[in-house]
């Protein structure tokens, strides 16, 4: 199979404009006849469902939560980037494009990234008009901050709840369409399979989480906006329900899965406290703007932080990266924290933590300013740890936060199954090997508001709408597949709980396919996962029945898919004999311990294809060309 990106050629500044003009349109009178299925209701899915409903399509939207407003986009704290240059500080579409390609360590598709930077400015306008209460200056204009390693102030924010406010904007637009009858919403409904007829995505199979009812929904196109797969690690900053199931089942129907090993570790999370821990809480990395990160110079120094004198502290990021200091990109900050802890200088009971200290900043600006900037984050920290960060430095440790990999899509956001589109974190497209801060919200909304409404029309205009019956063999087969998985889980009747398996799987993936990876470790992990997966199917205990509200059954299906994904992540990481972005192979580093890319051999997207149970996945490569941003060794010194 050859992967055709459909990325326009010609001057990049004009490519989206030209491409849009080349896309076929659907006659307004015909739009209602096309039924579009949208799975997921976060920034990407919610924005897509609302925008497609506004255009006049017949939209059916699904989410597993009790309301579309719960989608995990809601938890993003820091902000959203846009190349507005409102601050006259040298920002531009080109610079945002440049920063994103470089930040992604030259593993993203240039044309996609350029388009993302272009539409970023429209997103802010749209959100302001919807009533998103962005932070304002006294003059009434929008406030910005510099964020996550950017040297310009291009991040828009709404206190520490930017994701919440953007999501509520999209949710309100979606509810408006629901009220108008343009969108039909299916909450507490989980997608469990894709129906592919004659090579095209023609529908999905869902299970109602209220009563277990399995249903077939046909559509002229299917849009997956189901988020990332960080919960493969069990402990992550994702919500408990985040899962890979929708995109994984699509993978098993023929969609290629790109770069599964590109996962992002966020450097500023609250450290793990004990075995019962169910998730990790992120502290916005905007904290790194004012907090200083340090550890004691002496390994094993267990003194209380206040009694460690200045001269015996190591502000290791400021020391190693004088120009970026505490604002180096996420992967660098995370690995540096791990290195300090591995060397025995970690702090806190477990030794898995570093200090994030605000005392200098409080001295300089006064406590009131800090309350204004980070009040809610400080409160949250205190609520969770019982420690007051105005008095004692915070303790932080990296945790899994975002997954750059996902289903492969072309420039139109269409997967390798025609008619199956993938948006937001669920696709692989824009962040390369590492995502910059405040870019996830941007991508989700770009895909949902400003890209899919154009590209899906082109597909529909070229596709005949057809009516299918539930007796169609592909539909029957998909329903049988879903029912069989459920039965198998309920009938295993073993001894161990789903969570205990998930926790064990997570530990393996974190240990061997987390912040730093080696060929030996990955090989070992792949076989450990395979072994544990076999045991899972024999020995898992899922109580109750399908025909009821059964949370263990929901989890079991998701964990079953995480097992398969975990193995593929290891295989992908093993294949990529280089270090880039969030993927750090210990064998490939510079003498200073920085990631060493191998552009000659690995400047490609690794897209994996399902070849049947028990058979190795196939690898297809999409070569990457860099005509504008010349690959260079990232340096943040």
């Amino acid at each position: 199979m050859e992967l055709i990106s459909n990325a326009p050629i010609g001057p990049i500044e004009k490519s989206w404009e030209t491409h849009k003009f080349g896309l076929k349109l659907v006659n307004p009178a015909n739009k209602r006849k096309f039924k579009i299925i949208v799975v997921g209701s976060g920034l990407a899915g919610g924005a897509a469902a609302a925008s497609l409903g506004e255009l006049g399509y017949n939209v059916h939207c699904f989410c597993f939560q009790d309301s579309p407003r719960r989608a995990h986009s809601i938890a993003a704290q820091g902000g959203i980037n846009a190349a507005k240059n409102y601050h006259n500080d040298g920002d531009s579409v080109y610079r945002l494009f440049y920063d994103t390609v470089k930040g992604g360590d030259f593993r993203a598709r240039e044309a996609n990234v350029y388009r993302l930077a272009q539409v970023s400015v429209n997103i802010i306008d749209q959100c302001v008009a919807q009533g998103v209460p962005f932070a304002r200056e006294y003059g009434g204009l929008l406030d910005n901050r510099s964020f996550g390693g950017a040297q310009v102030s291009r991040t828009f924010y709404a206190r520490g709840q930017t994701g919440q406010q953007l999501l509520l904007g999209a949710y309100q637009a979606l509810e408006r369409q629901i009220g108008l009858g343009a969108v039909k919403m299916y909450p507490r409904t989980e997608m469990l399979d894709v129906i592919v007829i004659d090579g095209k995505a023609r529908g999905i199979v869902t299970r109602s989480l209220n009563d277990g009812k399995v249903e077939v929904h046909f559509g002229d196109a299917v849009v997956l906006a189901t988020g990332g797969y960080g919960n493969v690690y069990y402990l992550s900053t994702n919500a408990k329900g985040c899962n890979v199931t929708a995109i994984w089942r699509a993978y098993k129907r023929g969609a290629l899965f790109a770069n599964p090993c590109y996962t992002q570790i966020h450097p500023t999370c609250i450290p793990v406290a004990g075995d019962y821990q169910s998730k990790l809480t992120l502290m916005s990395e905007s904290l790194r703007n004012d907090g200083r990160i340090w550890v004691p110079q002496q390994a094993g120094d267990k003194r209380n932080p206040a009694s460690i004198p200045e001269g015996e502290r190591d502000y290791y990021l400021e020391r190693r990266y004088p120009s970026f200091g505490n604002l180096v990109p996420r992967d660098i900050a995370s690995r540096a924290a791990k290195a300090e802890c591995d060397a025995g200088r970690g702090v806190g009971e477990t030794g898995l933590g570093v200090y994030l200290d605000f005392s200098d900043c409080i001295k300089r600006l006064g406590q009131q300013k800090i309350v204004e900037r980070y009040g809610n984050l400080f409160e949250m920290y205190e609520r969770i740890t019982g420690e007051n960060p105005y008095e004692v430095p915070m303790r932080i440790y990296p945790a899994i936060h975002y997954t750059m990999g996902g289903l492969w899509v072309d420039y139109n956001l269409m997967s390798t199954i025609p008619g199956l589109f993938v948006l937001g974190e669920a696709n692989f497209s824009d962040h390369g090997a590492n995502r910059l801060g405040a870019s996830a919200l941007m991508q989700g909304l770009a895909d949902g508001y400003f890209i899919i409404p154009y590209t899906i029309g082109n597909y529909l205009a070229n596709t005949k709408s057809e009516n299918f019956s539930e007796d169609a063999p592909a539909a029957k087969e998909a329903v049988a597949n879903v029912t069989a998985i459920t039965k198998k889980l309920l009938n295993a009747n073993g001894k161990r709980t789903v969570d205990s398996y998930h926790r064990e799987l997570g530990k393996i993936v974190w240990e061997y396919c987390g912040m730093a990876r080696t060929a030996a470790g990955l090989t070992k992990a792949a076989s450990m996962i395979a072994e544990l997966r076999e045991d899972f199917w024999k020995n898992v205990r899922v109580l109750g029945a399908n025909e009821e509200f059964n949370q263990s059954l929901e989890k079991a299906g998701r964990v079953a898919d995480f097992f398969e994904l975990g193995e593929l992540m290891c295989i992908d990481a093993l294949n990529r004999n280089e270090s880039c972005g969030g993927h750090f192979r210990e064998e490939y580093q510079t003498p200073e311990g920085e990631a060493m890319r191998d552009d000659a051999n690995y400047s490609y997207v690794a897209a994996w294809g399902f070849q049947g149970a028990g058979r190795p996945a196939s690898l297809t490569k999409e070569p990457l060309a860099f005509n504008y941003v010349k690959p260079s060794q990232r340096s943040y010194k």
Binding site: P133, F156, T281
Partner: protein, 257 residues
Amino acid sequence: MKLTLHVWRQKNARDRGRMVRYEVPGVNEHMSFLEMLDVLNERLIEKGDDPIAFDHDCREGICGMCGMMINGKAHGGFKGTTVCQLHMRHFKDGDEIYLEPWRAAAFPVIKDLAVDRLAFDRIIAAGGFISVPTGSAPDGNAIPVRKQDADLAMDAAACIGCGACVAACPNSAAALFVGAKISHLAHLPQGQAERDRRALAMVRQMNREGFANCGNIGECEAACPKQIKLEVIAQSNADYIKAAFTERSETATGGAG
């Protein structure tokens, strides 16, 4: 520490339901309340007993999916805290804790502690938005917004739609939830065009959903994990009354085209 829980168990909406007692030894003070329930559920599954159903998702106090009555108080009654962010250090060895679902006719029980809050979505669908189709927005800085207004809008917009206000209210009123959205959008210049319609539509939908009237008791404000203030109710009452008095039937004549 060792706790005794009394948990409302109800198989489905049709079941009568009952309180069931559970002993939970070995609770660590750093656990969150939901992690304590996870531990109990793991033990129940190992014994072959049906685990307790409860809604939750983000576990960082922002998605609004979790919520239950703890000893008669929504989310446990700790200031500005959802149950997922409530930690066991607030309890002590030997405590007896009573857990019940949100109680309100408009929030039917699905199972155990999980309830159906779709009524909230329908209220938003009725009018809790600004009508601005994608692509039709002017530049973000075209309309300045006073910082104070933006801040007040943000205060109200912080609502997570968890339903604690309804559960805490002796009348099961949804006035705080509805007021929060009306107040959020009323403070912004972008929200003015539909201000009257919004207030009328949202309040009418609220009444249709079976939420009772606000009695100005203020339990909702005390229970709100996002500390939404009662003044949002005053704002929505004012907007509703003004809109109701000036309401005229919508007139539109056919276009010439």
